[in-house]
Subunit: 294 residues, 4 copies
């Protein structure tokens, strides 16, 4: 199939590479052109601009860093208004529920099908085509792109006819993730204050009742107090928590743990840690307990 791919961050590049490997034609674009170099070497065509990338495409994939980027490229540029059936737009990014609903309405007006399909997994998982894909939107469109999703992920979860339902699910997953980080940080402060090494706690839980990549990966950052280079920056974590709280607020759902984590992230930013990995939340827990200097 002919595919357009907009947004070539670490995740986007890994996903697009798998689509190329599967034999599809990929016309890619990124705001910073150099991000496409590796992909070009793998056979992608690098488009001059988003509209160029979308010309002739059967399916458009997008994967931008945040709402404003997607909004700028797709809506404010006028691109969306030029798209036509039978194009299907598959948006892989973590965006707000509000924007997903807005996109669904705008696409419906043009006849182009819109699917939200945010993914769970970090770049190395994407490269291994082992992502969990959280998909929602019109079932017929989803059926059409399912073979493509099978190429980039391990499993596709169909979450409903309303595209934003996939985004809610992704936000819920990220909420659970950041709560686990904050909790590890507080637990680390507790044992550290009693002369037990946080690394022993992390080793214990991640090898017994809390296996899996979250407790192991972020846990080892915390055990080693090593927060750079950032896998996911605290600053972006705060953005995600903002989306989580907004999704909850729109339906009058109190999320006290998300509120608490938001304050911890602000504490991190106030201490200059915004560009460190968001597991730096643990540093704040240690700092508030007087275990590390301010």
């Amino acid at each position: 199939m002919k595919l357009a791919f907009l947004g070539l961050g670490a995740m986007g590049q890994a996903v697009a590479a798998n689509l190329l490997k599967a034999g599809h034609q990929v016309s890619a674009w990124n705001r910073t052109a150099t991000a496409g170099d590796a992909l070009a070497a793998q056979g992608a065509r690098i488009a001059a601009n988003p509209a160029d990338a979308c010309a002739d495409a059967d399916v458009l994939f997008s994967m931008f860093a945040d709402d404003p980027s997607l909004r700028a490229v797709l809506i404010e540029s006028g691109l969306l208004a030029t798209l036509r059936e039978p194009l299907v737009h598959v948006n892989l990014a973590t965006i707000s529920v509000v924007l997903a609903d807005e996109l669904a309405a705008l696409h419906a007006a043009t006849g182009v099908a819109y699917l939200s399909a945010p993914v769970v997994g970090r770049p190395h998982v994407a490269a291994a085509a082992a992502l969990q894909i959280l998909a929602a939107g019109p079932a017929a469109a989803l059926d059409r792109v399912q073979p493509l999703l099978d190429v980039i992920g391990k499993k596709t979860w169909r979450l409903g006819d309303r595209a934003s339902q996939a985004n809610v699910m992704k936000l819920a997953v990220n909420f659970m993730l950041v709560s686990a980080i904050e909790t590890m940080g507080e637990a680390a402060a507790l044992v550290d204050a009693h002369g037990v090494s946080p690394s022993t706690l992390i080793e214990l839980v991640s090898s017994s009742i809390f296996p899996g990549p979250v407790y192991q990966g972020y846990g080892s950052n915390i055990a080693e107090q090593r927060y750079e280079p950032a896998g996911f920056k605290a600053r972006l974590g705060l953005k995600d928590v903002r989306l989580i709280l907004a999704a909850a607020e729109s339906e009058s759902v109190p999320l006290p743990i998300a509120s608490l984590v938001r304050d911890s992230l602000l504490d991190a930013l106030a201490h200059g840690d915004g560009d460190k990995d968001w597991s730096v939340l643990a540093q704040g827990a240690l700092r508030r307990a007087g275990r590390v200097p301010g």
Copy 2:
């Protein structure tokens, strides 16, 4: 070896049975005598009272439900003052840091070695001899009982010379556990409010980034809104959170998530859910979001 075993709840019975299977002589006692019936059938001697159970024992295991029970049987009864070297006391229960420190001091005065060895795992894990054992106290005593610990658990973690360090570790693990439950509950309320089934969320996370018994076990309670019979009662969960907060307070460690969970547990008790499984925390999150009736 000759072993005394005091406290035959579901956990105690499973552990004592494994000691019997390994060929040790076990003299057991429980406040309610009938709790020893099954164990007697497996070859244990049921003692008339705690002192009787301890007579001639090489090692004393204790596993009571809470601090006051242990305090009553061991200290207030006068039993501890009658114990003599070379007896080693291995306390498998989750007790407070304060009581662990007090016990260490009282035992030191008698010459009897005291080890805190709380375990991670539920009764079926204990029955399978697959517990994680968190041990702390004098190394020589720990060396002596290690063969016994190998019979009842999968792995023994040596956490320090101060017995209470094992209790701090256990409390940190329980803190992480109850935080995961509260978080699942809030996440369930979020997706439910957007028309996505909490059971899909639980299935997704527990089959991907959050594998393991906590998210699977408590998660399925939450997915099915089934909180009885209780694996671990909310009322006992509140007791544990109290111990967690006390351990943190003694070293001036703020634990905002533990504070928040404490309030959620009180909300549960105020709504008559004290004897339900502590995963009923999720019901409170749904109730505060107006998703289930008050």
Copy 3:
């Protein structure tokens, strides 16, 4: 002086009436025209539209309910671009810090001076010309309008050259106010659970260490569990808390009490109390303690 007055809610009407009484010419406009009837009877000219109201005005007062209303009337309509020196715009409303900064920049581009001057006090205080006026913006413009502010308030606080500083101050005051309400609610639940009447608590504190309108006014709502008619709706309270949290977030300031109150307000909305007075927060505290039905 010739004055334009846009936005005739309960507060706006009371303020405009005082300007009329002081002998100024007031040309007033409100989205719903009938809101101007009483004012017309007092001598105001009711303008056909905002631009009409502003024609010939020396000073423009605005007092809209929220950011979007002000944004629609002033910016999106194109009105702002038509305003000219030496007009001074005095915005009395509680708006976001972001919008205040944006307005300051937009006005600077036209040469029209912009002052933020949100007020503390409810309609009866406004009617008595006893408002506290929190003012910020260019000093020369503030000097010019000071005689007008003296007519509508008891005291003008000059808070800085940057208009948004007045808005931050107003938000800080509202934060303290809503925290006092939440606190009274929790305290009421505590004493009620021990068989002491919340009304006695309110009477005690408001006649001793917590005098003043907040503890007396909202306190009596709580004492009587009477939340209608609303002095200030929970729904609007949530909007204010959103502005408070946004102002804090822009400078990386954690505000855990504001986060907590936000969750309590969402709980209120989820229980159908969005249009009741925001002192209905107390009802949530009682409900979570099982003291009133869900």
Copy 4:
């Protein structure tokens, strides 16, 4: 009347002095004898021990710093068992609800009437005989001592037949007080971050919607960042919050603001501020926002 007075801290001395001035015979005792010197100069008899102080007394006043002190002097010493009708015991201290209930039961067994009568007001208020007295216990006993209470306070609030109801009320008042402090601290961080002086905020609110001693007194500490000498130490504040949370927990009342303040006080203690005035909570709010060094 013949009065015994046990516990001569700053508050106790001020109260006892007023009883002396009113013409009563006061036999006083304090653990540290020198605390009675000033009182002796005013005519008090300094007793050799608590039992000596109580001999012949019609009314026993006690005012100790905390539960353990009262428990040691009154219960563990055996003193209480020796007291006889028609003595009335008036306990002016802030104690736990549990201890108040226990004291009521122990006194009932001896026939001596027990009244809880904690007070609201600081030493200078006590000296001016302007305390608010929160009284509960048997009405007949309260009637008998009312003339004495009139000598030391401005108003006596009768809160019920169960002595501990007065203690609950006192704890609720202290909860409101510490919440106001934490709130001022957070609000100070907010305005400070936007370049507005916290002292202006404090001046504004305490001269308008938040008059009274709490916002003025603790507010000026915060405005000046001056936390020594301590009017009431953070360490004692934490003790009070512990009593507040315990009183709430016994009746399953969530108090999220008290939980939050507890964590803030622990943060203060972890940063070496335990002996500073509890308004030092504001310093923590500024520190977490990166406004003051760690």
